[in-house]
Symmetry: C2
Subunit: 227 residues, 2 copies
């Protein structure tokens, strides 16, 4: 729960948790817009000003939501990941649990992603504020890759966690727009894309692909250069 300033006293901690819980409930029940700060404060049994004391803005409430769902995702992933050995089933498992974790919030996820696309917003996945969450999420994909017995050339293997994180963001983006029952379209897309990705990794690992692979990886490196 990354809030404005981490509260020290247990009572404060509880108040903050109550506000956060109220926000989550209202987001679920009414969606983002309708869950006004006034309503959140009321449900949490605090004054409006107090809600702002713990969460600098409505958006900060969402940063907290990010962390929370990531933790939930981790918890859902762990019990089974170790037993899966090949890249494909590991990636499938992680993606599947991801979709299950975020499903309850589908209704307000869209409007949440409004801010996510704004470069000046702390919610932007590339913003400094999002750094910790992004790093953690990438770590999960590193785990997926490392634990797989699939053979992958070193240069690609090093970049793969970032690429998979990006891929996973793409799936989430699709999920946001998916109104099919049980989010079936997203599931199907996810399953098929995982297959294609694993196949592509196989191909990219072939010796004669070295030049293109290098060019593509250099491209990615350039993406991260600061000037």
């Amino acid at each position: 729960m990354t809030a404005a300033e981490a509260p020290r006293r247990p009572k404060a901690l509880e108040t903050q948790a109550r506000i956060f819980a109220a926000a989550l409930e209202l987001f679920r029940e009414r969606g983002y817009e309708a869950a006004t700060m006034r309503a959140i404060a009321e449900r949490a049994g605090v004054a409006l000003g107090n809600a702002y004391y713990y969460f600098r803005s409505k958006e900060h409430l969402i940063q907290a939501f990010y962390s929370r769902t990531h933790e939930e995702h981790l918890a859902a992933v762990r019990p089974r990941l170790d037993r899966l050995r090949d890249l494909k089933s590991r990636l499938l498992w992680v993606m599947q649990t991801k979709l299950e974790t975020i499903e309850p919030y589908h209704r307000f996820a869209g409007i949440m992603f409004r801010s996510a696309a704004d470069p000046t917003s702390p919610l932007n996945p590339f913003s400094p504020e999002s750094d910790p969450v992004r790093r953690e999420a990438t770590t999960l994909f590193a785990l997926v890759v490392d634990g797989a017995r699939t053979r992958i050339p070193g240069d690609l293997r090093a970049e793969l966690p970032n690429l998979l994180w990006l891929y996973h963001m793409g799936i989430v983006l699709f999920w946001i727009h998916d109104t099919s029952p049980d989010r079936r379209r997203t599931s199907r897309l996810m399953e098929r894309s995982v297959e294609v990705i694993v196949k592509l990794i196989g191909i990219a690992s072939l010796p004669f692909m070295l030049p293109v692979r290098r060019a593509a990886l250099r491209l990615l490196a350039a993406l991260r250069e600061t000037d």
Copy 2:
């Protein structure tokens, strides 16, 4: 200029144009947030309510902006595209002119893309409202492909305009976040990625790549299915 309802009388048309022009100016001068509807109305010399008469919301003002910049882009592309023959130089030219066209609006482009990521917003590139603009933009990339003498298998060729449109959206997304002088990072990324893309098209066109190509294309088809 796709507004709320197309105004019939010349006077109305002029008023609408004046509001739109004022909006564009203020977007450039102050960015999106600071360009309040009140300020836009004032600069256009109309009442606040009147601005809303022509543009249902601030976001609709941006839909109009989309159309406008696309038209400008087309105008910039045309004089030279015919003379370029291979895919790489054609694509490079189109992307380069794109970046030049949107550059003046860099400052407010970010916040513009807030709404673009919201599935309920008319600004979302996948929304019905955006359909015309997207279709037109895709047509441009179809033109890029069709006029190139590069050999491309039919299945891939049919999908390529959509893929290139998607690619171009990615570059724009990067551009939004790019604060380097003269947007140099974006230019570099664009040039390198065009090279990689053309190389990849070459590889994907090899006979033994047929199965993976098919799988990937089927994936894209699934993306568009309505169920």
